[in-house]
Subunit: 205 residues, 2 copies
């Protein structure tokens, strides 16, 4: 009975996290309310408080859950940090996958924009997130360069920032007009433009 | 007296618009309230209603005002649509100018992200805004190509989308960590990478 209750509690907790993800994605974090999240999970405000003490704690549960999912996805794809081209290929795969989860991309786009305000609860989270993504992209480009596959004059540090920025900007345009923007194709073409190997071959190889 | 009252009313209206711009930029549109905007302008809720009937009407007044300002700035810079390189130079100038107005950039970044939701009041505005910006950038690149200054293999239609996306993504990273991202330098380097003339010479010429 205890185990059953525990499992039920965990399932409800997960339901709250996934519902909150949708609500945050629709309205942004600032305009979302605990009351609405509770209502959409069939809970009273007090019932929700049994699982989460604040909207902020739900936000971090959402971000932690998605980070774990992303790491699992990345590991499953078998990308190794030592192989720069595989990581760039993983970025294009990720862009293709992102096009299947507009709610999630909307969430991160709104949250990252809101979080640029230093007093937003997720400010530090997003500062660290971008530092990590940019660093990972730079490391991939350095590795491509060491293998002799980076075009002349391409600075891995500059392009680590730029490729990350390109991905975010494409997401925004795609969210506004999904039928007009092929995120993966754009990213692939930007990468092809700075590597000296045929990226299509790398993609299928 | 009537004229004086009218001028006073216009000044108050402008004060509301500029205050709302700050509030929207801090919280996003969804989480901003008429009450807070009224309070920060030293008005009651009823006093604010004398000038604007809804939060939505304030939002559109902010966007209209900024669009007019931007057009004036662009005209003052003397960019002609027929000269593609001048327009690209104008984009870099704009990125440099944007780095001096973080509040405004924060506003557009949050609003554009929120507005990706089709039921956001500014959804159509942002869809049209991006269509216009992308089209303008594509036209500039076509003109550079016709003048023989675009690198081989660079598709103006693809890069019109990508340069616009790059600018947005750089803004996001810059808002999060202003000291780490030089938006104008990044944009300049991305443009230099696709044109066959020395962009620095174009910049000062």
């Amino acid at each position: 009975m205890v185990t059953h209750g525990y499992a039920k509690g965990r399932a409800k907790r997960q339901e709250i996290i996934e519902t909150a993800m949708l609500v945050f994605g629709e309205r942004g974090y600032n305009a979302s309310s605990m009351l609405e999240i509770a209502g959409r999970c069939g809970l009273s405000r007090a019932g929700l408080a049994h699982h989460f003490s604040s909207k902020e704690s739900i936000l971090f549960a959402v971000l932690t859950w998605r980070d774990r999912k992303d790491r699992e996805r990345f590991r499953a794809a078998g990308a190794k940090l030592s192989d720069g081209l595989a990581i760039l290929r993983g970025m294009v795969d990720l862009a293709r996958h992102n096009a299947t989860v507009p709610g999630l991309i909307g969430l991160y786009t709104v949250l990252a924009a809101e979080a640029s305000s230093p007093d937003h609860p997720a400010h530090d989270y997003f500062v660290e997130r971008y530092a990590r993504i940019v660093k990972g992209t730079q490391a991939a480009l350095v590795s491509v360069q060491q293998a002799g596959h980076l075009a002349a004059g391409v600075d891995p540090w500059v392009y680590g920032v730029a490729l990350t920025a390109l991905m975010d900007g494409l997401q925004l345009q795609w969210l506004l007009t999904p039928e007009k923007v092929d995120m993966a194709a754009h990213l692939r073409s930007a990468i092809q433009n700075i590597v000296t190997v045929d990226f299509d071959e790398v993609m299928t190889g």
